[in-house]
């Protein structure tokens, strides 16, 4: 139990996927313009990551390991993640068409979101059990959501203010991301997992 809590703290704060590991930067910059879209994206990522964690662990343990084809890990995982993303897209299109339109290209791009693959590979490397892997996947996606929503809030505020011309747009967004990342550095060393 303690380990699970530590995994959560580690994945959300200490080794935040976006701000400490620098994975999943593409949607982090791409869909951080409006809070509502950012929340939708976060939801999609939470869904994909948690499910991907479970499925990849099962595939790794029961397919790849017995067959001794661990080197096919990346390809097998990408396959699974891509299918999950497609599933999310189908579901969103059916139930939340407006969010589907707002996320646009960034939804299929979760496929190549290195945070998802990184999470799956890391979980295998760290020899997590099934439950630990699922918790790790869920916590990692929460960390992603936290970073995304925080950053969106900051960006919305910056959009309304008037930075020097040279900094307008993406430039000031990158600086903000860097500052946010540095702030999260403050958590480093809190837990060791």
């Amino acid at each position: 139990m303690v380990k699970l809590i530590l995994i959560v703290i580690s994945a959300v704060l200490v080794n935040n996927f976006v701000l400490s590991r620098f994975l999943g930067i593409c949607p982090f910059l791409g869909v951080s313009k409006k809070t509502s879209t950012a929340l939708g994206m976060s939801g999609a990522v939470v869904f994909v990551m948690t499910l991907a964690a479970a499925v990849t662990w099962l595939v790794q343990t029961y397919v790849l390991k017995p067959l001794d084809i661990g080197y096919m890990q990346t390809i097998a995982f990408i396959l699974i993640i891509a299918s999950l993303v497609q599933l999310v897209e189908i579901i969103l299109k059916k139930f939340l068409p407006s969010l589907h339109a707002a996320l646009g290209i960034f939804l299929p791009l979760i496929t190549t979101n290195c945070a998802v693959l990184g999470m799956a590979v890391l979980a295998i490397q760290k020899n997590f059990t099934f439950v630990e892997t699922v918790v790790f996947g869920f916590a990692s996606s929460l960390g992603f959501a936290l970073a995304l929503v925080l950053f969106t809030g900051l960006r919305e505020k910056i959009d309304r203010s008037n930075p020097p011309k040279a900094f307008k747009g993406v430039a000031i967004a990158l600086i903000t991301a860097a500052l946010l990342s540095m702030a999260f550095m403050g958590f480093s060393g809190l837990v060791k997992i």
């Binding site: 505020k157 959009d159 309304r160 203010s161 008037n162």
Partner: protein
């Protein structure tokens, strides 16, 4: 004693320089009838009244000039006998175009209609008759907004009014018209309150006065004591702006909060201005229409600051001349109080039923700065009596994100000006909110 101290302290508020000493001890004087009166048909909130006279008509004093056009509207009466010279489109105090009836007065008193059915035994009148008299007299809120009093006194049947508050706070700097009214005509005020109490069947009434007017507090409480009136009490409020704002005053005295977007009637309270109460007295007891009001002419830019009774439709220039004329260093003319009043482009604008003050301000009394970006100091948030976040809101407005502004309750802003007053960056916050509110009001309701 019948003096109550206000129990609750509202959030926010500011302490501007009051400068009430300029005109507070000046006894109210009556302005000699001007030769030309330009009477606006938009003296109240709601639909402008419809003129019932034509060019060339001869009208007598108190005669109806324009009738109410709709439920939220009020009639306008002639303040003097004379000839209608023309009906034109002019500019109101707020700068919006208004229809003006130009009246050439002949200063004869022979044609005067005195009150038709004056009665001192008003107690015998039924509430319907009283309400009718108030409506026909064209009484509107004299505090500034000009909401028709008749409508205010007819709350929906499901909302029972329990408490009446008479607003004598006069929290706007400079203005002393209501103060003088309380000092000079306490009997009219008290009778007016009793009339409202009868109409609404209310037993509990408070006269709210800021504690920087001890003379008025003392005089009124003594008057009430002498007359053995028990249901009316004087309530003293700490002095700060905007103590006279309806919702803030209700909270200070009763501790009840008017819900966002709601009316005082929702919490069983009704607030009337002192000037309005006296107008109600005139309408019911003397059966006189609302044709004149006390206006404070003040500021360092006028020779002799005074409180003047002037007929509605008096051009500001007449008032200025009557008070000794303007000094050379006048920078700004404001109709109303300095916090919420309207700056005037010309002295040709005329007084209405809501003109509580006319201020001639010199350079040292006004602030004119270039505005700079928000430094997020939060002073406006501390000052906002409506618990809004002006800094945040103004940024929404600047980015024309009016939807977010509405989500953050910009419509609750009463434009009191506390935020802009306290802003060290001199940001035109209130103007932002006015623009946003105008935009949102123009949007079709969903």
């Amino acid at each position: 004693m019948n003096i109550l101290k206000a129990k609750f302290k509202i959030h926010g508020g500011v302490h501007p320089k009051y400068r009430k000493e300029l005109a507070r001890d000046e006894e109210t004087k009556r302005l000699p009838l001007p030769d030309i009166l330009r009477i606006s048909t938009t003296q109240h909130l709601g639909a402008p009244s419809k003129p019932v006279v034509k060019k060339g008509d001869y009208v007598k004093k108190y005669q109806l000039l324009a009738e109410a056009a709709g439920f939220i509207s009020a009639p306008v009466h002639s303040p003097a006998s004379g000839t209608i010279k023309d009906i034109v489109t002019g500019t109101g105090a707020s700068g919006a175009p208004v229809t003006e009836i130009i009246l050439e007065t002949n200063n004869t008193s022979d044609a005067e209609l005195t009150g038709v059915y004056p009665t001192d035994e008003w107690q015998k009148l039924s509430p319907e008759t009283i309400l009718n008299r108030i409506r026909e007299a064209g009484v509107v809120g004299a505090g500034g907004a000009g909401f028709p009093t008749y409508v205010k006194l007819s709350p929906p049947p499901d909302k029972k009014i329990e408490t009446l508050i008479i607003n004598g706070a006069e929290c706007e700097p400079y203005l002393t018209a209501d103060y003088r009214l309380m000092l000079e005509h306490p009997e009219c005020l008290i009778a007016g309150i009793q009339i409202i109490c009868k109409v609404l069947n209310v037993t509990e009434a408070y006269i709210a006065i800021e504690d920087n007017k001890p003379e008025a507090i003392e005089l009124l409480s003594k008057y009430l004591e002498d007359k053995k009136i028990e249901n009316i009490k004087v309530s003293t409020l700490p002095t700060y702006y905007p103590q006279g704002a309806e919702k803030q005053q209700i909270y200070s005295i009763t501790g009840r909060e008017v819900p966002s977007g709601g009316l005082p009637a929702d919490v069983g309270v009704l607030v009337e201005n002192t000037g309005t109460t006296v107008a109600i007295y005139n309408a019911v007891i003397k059966d006189l229409p609302f044709i004149e009001r006390t206006t404070t002419v003040s500021g360092y830019g006028i020779e002799t600051p005074s409180n003047v009774i002037a007929p509605i439709g008096t051009p500001y220039q007449e008032l200025i001349d009557f008070c000794g004329g303007a000094k050379d260093d006048v920078k700004k003319i404001i109709s109303g109080g300095p916090m919420m009043g309207f700056a005037q482009a010309t002295a040709e604008t005329t007084t209405t039923k809501t003109t509580s003050g006319l201020l001639l301000l010199t350079a040292k009394e006004i602030s004119q700065f270039e505005s700079s970006p928000c430094i997020s100091c939060g002073r406006c948030i501390a000052a906002c009596p409506m618990n809004l976040m002006p800094a945040e809101l103004s940024q929404f407005c600047e980015a024309e994100d009016f939807e977010s502004a509405a989500a953050n309750r910009v419509m609750d802003c009463m434009e009191c000006g506390c935020c802009a007053f306290s802003c060290p960056a001199h940001r035109p916050l209130v103007q932002h909110f006015r623009t946003a509110k105008a935009f949102l009001r123009a949007q079709p309701k969903k």
